[in-house]
């Protein structure tokens, strides 16, 4: 069951003048993005709105990974919430331990009175270095183990999507069941400090925003590098015709595994930075519904285009806040409709509109020349 996406996504390997122009354009795009994120947004937005933007940028970081795994690699992963959650919980566990102070257990454990000392699997997270590394490496390790099982046996397409979705459901159910050590349905809430900085201070909230913005730009650069490398070509080739790539002597399982693991690491980092920005991580943020919502943004913006996926994720998250504040019920209809229209009638997302318009314009120009 291979899906051929009728979207032109082959990265152009340009050389000469045209290549230099493309490189300049990319650099200009990055500079513009950096100016917007680091200068315009902090000046134009109130502290509250900037906090919301920080949250949206976290979803955008997940979308970068989705663009890589799904848009380029054809791996529809509906379980990115799991990796987001692993990163988020790793970070939140450390911050909770740090908040509690030496020798104390986090507040919710005292409340239930179930644990007088930290459970063994919490203890390593007291070390900031370990916790920080775990936010990225833990999701990557889980993805590597799972992916190597799944891809080696050529589980793909719908099977993969459904398995990844079941994984998100199982992870959320498991977290809810472990009330005493994970906070259950509530999750880990009320996080006060971030490596010694008080998160209630707006200045420190701004700092968290800047860290998130920088991380997003870094991830975009990393993904762009990957997409425009030899590996990126191979990934698209696996998506479009896995068997041919196998006949050429490559192992498609490994190609897919790399994209899946990198996407998981990106989601993990996003989850980790989401925690200080919002002050909470809970099963409600990582189950089936939020996992699919993470895909929605990327799909609406354009799954195969980095810029499209990122802008789509931010735009859909923003629209959700804005519209659900005004019309709580109508938003869901709009969200569903947006999804249907974007995917059924514009499979490349909004990003493909640019190409369509450009092509139409050049066709008109050609027609004009001929006339």
């Amino acid at each position: 069951m291979t899906t051929t996406t009728p979207v032109a996504t082959k990265p152009k390997q340009l050389t000469g003048v045209k290549g230099r122009f493309a490189a300049t354009r990319t650099a200009a795009g990055f500079a513009a993005g950096a100016v917007v994120l680091f200068a315009v947004a902090p000046l134009a937005l109130s502290d509250f709105r900037l906090g919301l933007l920080a949250k949206y940028l976290c979803t955008a970081m997940v979308a970068v990974g989705i663009c890589l795994a799904w848009g380029r690699g054809g791996l529809l992963t509906l379980g990115q919430g799991v990796f987001f959650g692993l990163g988020g919980y790793a970070m939140a566990m450390h911050l909770k331990i740090a908040d509690a102070g030496p020798g104390q257990v986090p507040d919710f454990m005292q409340l239930y009175g179930t644990a007088s000392e930290l459970p063994w699997w919490w203890r390593p997270f007291a070390n900031p270095g370990f916790a920080l590394a775990a936010t990225v490496l833990l999701p990557m390790a889980v993805a590597a183990i799972l992916g190597s099982f799944i891809f080696r046996r050529r589980v793909k397409g719908a099977y993969f999507a459904i398995l990844s979705q079941a994984l998100a459901a199982a992870f959320a159910i498991w977290l809810i069941g472990q009330q005493a050590t994970t906070g259950g349905t509530n999750g880990l809430t009320d996080i006060q400090g971030f490596f010694g900085y008080d998160l209630n201070d707006p200045v420190n909230q701004r700092m968290v925003y800047f860290v998130i913005a920088a991380a997003l730009l870094l991830l975009i650069a990393l993904a762009r590098q990957l997409i425009h490398s030899r590996y990126g070509e191979l990934l698209v080739a696996v998506r479009d015709s896995e068997e041919r790539v196998r006949f050429l002597g490559y192992n498609p399982a490994n190609v897919k595994l790399v994209a899946y693991v990198v996407a998981a690491g990106m989601a993990g980092l996003a989850g980790a930075l989401f925690v200080p920005a919002v002050g909470i991580i809970s099963p409600a943020l990582i189950g089936i519904v939020p996992s699919i919502e993470l895909v929605i943004g990327a799909a609406v913006g354009g799954r195969a285009s980095l810029v499209g996926a990122v802008l789509g994720a931010v735009g859909v998250a923003w629209a959700k806040t804005a519209l659900s504040e005004e019309f709580p019920a109508a938003w869901t209809y709009f969200q569903g409709l947006l999804f249907i229209v974007a995917l059924a009638f514009l499979p490349g997302g909004l990003a493909s509109l640019v190409g369509i318009v450009r092509r139409r314009r050049s066709n008109q120009a050609l027609a004009g020349d001929a006339a």
Partner: protein
């Protein structure tokens, strides 16, 4: 001893519910390759149909009997409408059907919330189904709940009806022909578009029947579809896509496994362990329990 038998029965009754919710999917997903995430909401539509009928028919027994065919028609009509509006444009992009129908399911959930309100509602089971049969009496009795037995019977009846329809009727023959070779079927004069829509009608209608059954074991609410849909998909995937007998076996095996694991651990741990078992099983048989053997490389 009776504890083990009791657990077995619980497992089989979980399996019967699983089978009922997965049965419609085995047609729309298994045969037609459409990943319909709104299937759970068709189940919900069946459940709400039961609720509405009970409001208007005072006798719980009669309303349940009436609900079965009406729910089949309501959900089936929804399914045929969905097929006509959206899915027929997407047959070549199965993964996109998943996401598009997810959008549909969001809208249907909100629609249910607007019509019936966000809180769950409940139906009254007919008196016949509220009791239980005592199989072994004495100090350590073994009892089977009547509503569970009814669902088991309903599941068996639905499987038999579907498999006979596919095997013996002209419609079934046409569906099988389209599934096996769409182009050749078209050339032989079968209107594939109409067959697709009919198959979708039947598959979605079966979701409605499952919805009626679910009202006997739990509350009815806007999110009830989301809660069951993943389990249903897992049954199909593990059973082998397009394999009815695979779905039947797997539904009961998973039901018993779930019940045994719940007995020895907790509900949440059991869910995780079942998923681990499924991933492990797919290592052994990546295409599910039964595979359609083809020479296709895809």
């Amino acid at each position: 001893m009776t504890v083990i038998l009791g657990q077995m029965f619980t497992g089989i009754s979980i399996g019967a519910v699983l089978l009922l919710i997965a049965l419609g999917l085995s047609l729309t997903f298994g045969q037609m390759n459409v990943i319909n995430m709104a299937h759970g909401e068709f189940i919900m539509a069946g459940a709400y149909t039961t609720y509405v009928l009970q409001k208007s028919i005072s006798s719980a027994g009669i309303s349940l009997i009436v609900a079965l065919p009406v729910a089949f028609l309501v959900s089936g009509a929804l399914g045929a409408l969905l097929e006509w509006l959206l899915i027929r444009r997407l047959y070549l992009r199965p993964l996109d059907t998943l996401l598009v129908t997810w959008g549909v399911s969001l809208m249907l959930q909100q629609l249910a919330r607007d019509i019936f309100g966000a809180p769950n509602v409940q139906t009254r089971a007919p008196d016949v189904l509220t009791g239980h049969i005592t199989v072994i009496g004495g100090d350590d009795p073994l009892t089977f709940a009547n509503n569970r037995l009814f669902i088991l019977g309903l599941a068996i009846a639905a499987v038999v009806a579907l498999s006979l329809t596919l095997r013996l009727t002209p419609l079934g023959r046409r569906i099988r022909a389209v599934v096996q070779n769409r182009d050749l079927a078209e050339v032989s004069g079968i209107s594939t578009g109409r067959v697709d829509r009919t198959a979708f009608f039947i598959g979605s209608g079966l979701a409605g029947v499952a919805g009626v059954a679910l009202t006997l074991v739990g509350p009815i609410g806007p999110t009830m579809g989301t809660n069951v849909i993943i389990d249903a998909f897992l049954v199909i995937v593990v059973g082998g896509i397009g394999q009815l007998k695979g779905s039947v076996i797997v539904a009961f095996v998973l039901g018993v496994l779930q019940s045994v694991l719940e007995y020895s651990t907790t509900v949440s741990v059991a869910k995780v362990l079942v998923l681990v078992a499924i991933v492990a099983f797919l290592q052994w048989r990546p295409q599910g329990l039964y595979t359609l053997r083809t020479r296709s490389l895809v």
